[in-house]
Amino acid sequence: MRGILGSAVGLGVVALATAAGGSAQPSGQQVVLPGPVPYPTDSPPLLGKTALPNAYLGPLLHIASGQRVFVGVDSEGRVARVVDRQRLLVRGKGDYQVAISAPVEDVRAAAGSESEPGLRADQVLWAGFSPGRKVLAADVILRPRAAEPYLPVRLKVRRDGDRVTLTATNATPTGEMLYAGTTSPPELARLLDETRRASLAGRRLAAAYATFVGLVRVPKQKVPIEAPLRVEGELRLPGQAPFSFSRTLGDGRPLSFRVAARGGGTPKVHLLVRPSPVVRLLRPPGAETWVQAVRRRSLPAPFLLRRLIETRMRLVRADQYQSFLSNPDVDGRSRSVYEYDTVAASASPGVSAAPGDVGGGTSALLVVAITLGSVVLAGGGLVLWAHL
């Protein structure tokens, strides 16, 4: 399935390219660009092992999903528990009977829920009638081992004497197939501007096409595509002032960072991770818009095409991480925030404490922040393009 999804665009391109190759003269063909779907991998959203019952959603109903994924990590940053507080806002009048697939250990109604969730093997169930507006909220306790591979960030905490380092790494990169061919810079510039507007507005991508003349080539080598992530948080040691940090992982910036602090005791980590828009890679060079940039100076069409495809893939990947658990309304808006916190080693599975329970210290802490320049995607993209 993953392979099918991953190569869906490529197959479409190959089909189109074959058709184009059969004609006597090269002619323009509309090639579908990435987004809004398919996602490059099956998960997220998480999937359980059992077949879902038939779902029913009244034709007038729409569901928005908001999730806060509480990730409890041990003193070394390993995932110890995962609880997804999912809040579904049902709008419209009608019946609903939906199931959410995931590696579910248990589920309970969360504050504000106007109904009780049901539990089956690897399924959370909701059934009822919406009189116009209804809130369905649940704390879904997930099996940590099954959920961990799909969390957006991996943490590593190391102590070396009185020095503690925290490394946070964007775990979302996946290999995707690009495609290349002869295209029109003004059209690509327009599409880049459209993509940028959608990204900055936080809107889901709309389907879009680019005109290719002649063959569409599909390079053999996949390129890594990540979901850009906004990471904010702090590292705290007992008796010391917390060290706060804020980074974007991806979008042409490094995919990991490291912070260090000095002091004794058990380090406590608190992180908020949000899938974020592509900003940096969609910034037009030396102009307000890509259209203006193309008018001012000659930007190579292959560069524009590659930038367009890669940024759209990043937005699709970011959109994928907005649904850690699926939204039963496939067209509904979904948002996810991932909250990592250090939990006690003996903590039993359950709902973690509310966010914001990390207190402040009283004395100064020697902090060294080291940013790891692991991958600069913008530069990398240009280099790759140069080798095509």
Binding site: D95, Q97, V107, E116, P117, G118, L119, Q123, F129
Partner: protein, 412 residues
């Protein structure tokens, strides 16, 4: 001779191939017994409709569908009827007998379920309640073998609070002193506890009393502008008689017992006294439309005839009762069949566990199922309100859910 042998071999080969190509039916495993424990002599209408629902589903499963596939074998579902007389003590005896007879599940109206579930659980046998909505009867953590497909008292009480409080009525909360009335009163107490101003009085009525004049007079003097009566059909009939005979046209609201044919039969000489009576129950149709319920009703009527109420409309048309509670027992048997198949075993413990994991399409077109946290097959959201007019009822128009529901034909 050689040619004959070749021909024979050819025919044999064709026969083998034909046998191999054809659809193979599973070997017969025999019968699976489902016990039905209902108050045949206590509440014949409820007993009969539950029994018919079970028999119809068992007949469909065993006949049309070729039996329940359990592992590699196909079984016929057979039901055995027990009469609990509406007595918990008798229900315990019936449960012992059913377990002794090897029942894989027990369907009941709910009589004595608080006592019988433990006996059944000793053998892992699931108990499915299809009438009594009392809170506490069903609790997946404490009574893992008890399931229910019927509107719950809790759901009805809270839906009534949701429906009536915004109307600004001063409600008289009445209940009779039967077990049913007391259970309902407890849920009404909880549902209205946050809005005590909307309650004009709370009063217990003597169940079975034909004259409630004094109680109704007291309710009227309390300033009540509506009565919500959680009581047996006979008490509701007596209440309506007492109120209407003194010219008090107070709106009366009831749980599902308000739709019991007994009330209409008792007040057949005064059809207008029934007009405006509102009851709550679980909806008979889903958003997918009326077709599934109509199909079920047609099957039911074809097998058992219509359930005649025994009264007529003003136009002289005989009134019939839609097979509401038959629908619940019908759905319960279908879920049981699905659980047997999923369990791949007739071991009641495995069937009980599988009941938490299966879904079927119910007689009204809704999906029906239980889960590990909830053994209620009717969700509270499905509670609707219907009001009588001319001896038949139709969903009310001033409730979001009810307003979406069509009226079910009740005349023949």
């Amino acid at each position: 001779m050689r040619r004959s042998a070749a021909l024979l071999a050819g025919f044999a080969l064709i026969a083998v191939l034909a046998g191999g190509c054809g659809k193979q039916s599973a070997a017969s495993g025999g019968n699976i017994l489902v016990a039905v424990d209902v108050p045949v002599t206590g509440d014949p209408y409820i007993a009969q409709t539950i029994k018919h629902g079970v028999q119809l589903a068992a007949s469909n499963v065993s006949g049309t569908s070729g039996g329940v596939l359990v592992g590699q074998k196909s079984y016929a579902l057979k039901s055995k009827l027990y009469d609990n007389h509406g007595s918990a003590r008798q229900a315990v005896e019936d449960t012992r007998s059913a377990l002794g007879a090897g029942a894989v599940a027990i369907l009941t109206d709910g009589t004595g379920a608080a006592a019988t579930w433990q006996l059944a659980q000793q053998k892992g046998v699931p108990v499915c309640i299809t009438y009594d909505g009392a809170s506490g009867l069903v609790d997946p953590s404490k009574r893992p073998n008890v399931f229910r497909i019927a509107p719950t008292d809790h759901g009805i009480a809270f839906r009534y609070a949701e429906y009536l409080i915004p109307k600004g009525l001063k409600i008289g909360l009445l209940h009779d002193d039967s077990g049913y009335g007391q259970e309902g009163a407890s849920d009404l107490q909880k549902a209205f506890s946050r809005n005590p101003r909307s309650v004009a009085l709370r009063m217990t009525l003597p169940a079975g009393s034909a004259d409630l004049s004094a109680q109704i007079l007291r309710a009227r003097r309390s300033g009540a502008t509506a009565l919500l009566a959680w009581a047996q059909p006979s008490t509701i009939a007596a209440l309506l008689t007492a109120a209407r005979s003194i010219g008090w046209n107070v709106p009366v609201y009831t749980p599902p017992t308000g739709s019991d044919p007994y009330i209409r039969q008792r007040l057949a000489d005064h059809p207008s006294w029934i007009d405006g009576l509102t009851f709550a129950s679980s909806r008979l149709t889903a958003e997918v439309g009326t077709t599934p319920f109509e199909n079920f009703e047609a099957q039911y009527e074809s097998a058992y005839g219509v359930d005649k109420v025994g009264v007529k409309t003003s136009a002289g048309q005989p009134v019939v009762e839609p097979p509401e509670f038959a629908m619940y027992s019908y759905d319960c048997v279908n879920l049981l069949a699905a659980a047997l198949t999923r369990a791949g075993s007739t071991d009641p413990r495995k069937v009980q566990a599988a009941l938490n994991q299966v879904t079927t399409i119910g007689a009204n077109g809704d999906e029906r199922g239980f889960n590990q946290h909830n053994h209620e097959g009717v969700v509270d959201d499905d509670v609707y309100f219907a009001r009588f007019h001319d001896m038949t009822y139709a969903p009310v128009k001033d409730d979001p859910l009810s307003s979406t529901l069509p009226a079910i034909p009740q005349t023949r």
